[in-house]
Symmetry: none
Subunit: 273 residues, 2 copies
DNA sequence: AATTTAGATGAAAAAAATTTTCATCATATG
DNA sequence: CATATGATGAAAATTTTTTTCATCTAAATT
């Protein structure tokens, strides 16, 4: 890996983790970047220095200090870290373009949902969820309708990374599975609205067993969010173009992937038994 | 939206769609960028010109031609579009930050995948796919492993918008279902790699029936892409943090949602029978 | 308290990279 | 065949980045 030209160093992360070691001016620069990372990528080192009333050399030194070859290299790294909204330059929409525009709309909707979810994620909750999952005897996923497929999907993924995980798509089987949980198990309940009646009923059963519960919903005040140990929130927008619940799947999956990747990381670090 | 400084133009997308209008040298540059977009972002305009044995002014003109202020601006745009594996030499990441950073990484990975897929979507293919689906007698989804769940997911969605759709997760049942297709049916084959052996075998069976085929893969030169009527492409990047195929699910779902939304729109416009 | 030293900073110079200008060439057009 | 148009490269001009050097500040040492 060493010296690989195409690798880009994590800029924002480095800035955050080195922040305490920075000098006064360096902190000024760090604040500037952390506050609005997307502005710096369209500015020259001079403009940045002017904005901050410091010498350009100081900005340059900052770039080197956090590990880059120079200012340019830092800008490039920032550009790949920061999410820049894609400009849409559709002048005139013709009949022919209906599919194109709809496709674009749906993709952008999903991109926004992911951005919003990421922005509103509660790291403490994520951390707690990972702790629970990591120490769980087994993980069981629950969901109804479209969410039952996400549950199935999630169970496949956790299985494939070596966890004892499962999910049933059938509601009756889910009830049976729920009643067989123990204190050492973790139940992950997925529901877009957070108020699906079948799922609420199953959650009651789960709570009687003493198993730990994690909810993934788009509504923090829903019955499900209020009755789980840890409520994770996925931000989604409704659109006239799709039935409710369609687009929340994508943020749900992203959240599940994020949990998976953390578990993978933790497992790698643990001594192999 | 006009003139918004923080907006970045889609570079790869523009290059692809203007390709035919390019001159000889411009095509040379386009090829260079499309082939390995991540190299250019660490090179100067001079190095690029040298690599291609052309004048730097020509490279500069290319940047302008596709709509950028200059070479730098194009580089920045490319950097945000291209997937650069993030180097992990963070000296000391506190234990606390692991989950946060990973979650952020996974979300941004997915956002980039969606952006890249959107940027490289071939509208003609989408249009044709929608035509096929719209006029199909029934739609059958096929996929193996993780993709089988996406197939199931997709069939649920198309069913819920009133189409005759189905999918089996079991590979043997898929084969049986495949052999029962007719000329008036549409088979949608989902495979991240495009080279899953089970799925290839099923595709052969499908092709014998004369049913129309739509492939959804991340590789345009894969056996599956080359043997379907319409190949749809989802751009995804690999990450060390997740097993291969995890993140392609999200772009696959977004594509399926996009197809769904177009069908919904068309159905709304048709006179109700 | 005075002196030294190390690091931080800015100003200016130097170098590098980008952009513009201009001349030339090829190709198409009347 | 002459002319116009657009593409290209070379070189100049400009801008941006990087380096160097001098100064300043604050901590450490005497």
């Amino acid at each position: 890996m060493k010296g690989n030209q195409t690798m880009t160093q994590n800029c924002l992360g480095t800035i955050r983790s080195s922040y305490s070691k920075f000098s006064e001016k360096e902190k000024k620069i760090a604040d500037y970047i952390l506050e609005k990372p997307e502005t710096i990528i369209h500015r020259t080192i001079n403009e940045v220095a002017d904005d901050l009333n410091i010498a350009d050399a100081t900005v340059f030194r900052f770039s080197k200090r956090i590990g880059f070859k120079g200012f340019q290299a830092m800008k490039i790294a920032l550009a790949s870290e920061v999410i820049t909204p894609v400009r849409s330059i559709q002048e005139e929409i013709t009949e022919e373009d209906i599919e194109k525009n709809l496709t674009e709309k749906i993709f952008k909707l999903n991109i926004r949902s992911l951005q919003n979810t990421l922005g509103s994620i509660d790291n403490q909750s994520i951390k707690k969820a990972i702790d629970l999952i990591q120490h769980a005897n087994r993980i069981e996923f629950y969901g109804s309708g479209l969410s039952s497929i996400i549950a199935m999907n999630a169970s496949f993924k956790f299985m494939s990374i070596g966890m004892k995980a499962s999910a049933c798509m059938d509601s009756n089987l889910q009830t049976i599975s729920a009643s067989n949980l123990t204190k050492n198990d973790v139940a992950i309940i997925i529901s877009h609205s957070g108020s699906n009646q079948d799922t609420i009923t199953i959650l009651k059963t789960i709570n009687e067993t003493g198993a730990k519960t994690i909810g993934i919903t788009s509504s923090l005040n829903s019955p499900i969010s209020l009755n789980v140990d840890i409520a994770l929130y996925t931000s989604t927008e409704e659109t006239e173009n799709l039935p409710a619940g369609f687009s929340s799947q994508i943020t749900q999956l992203a959240l599940i992937d994020a949990l998976c990747s953390s578990i993978i990381k933790i497992k790698k670090k643990l001594p192999q038994k």
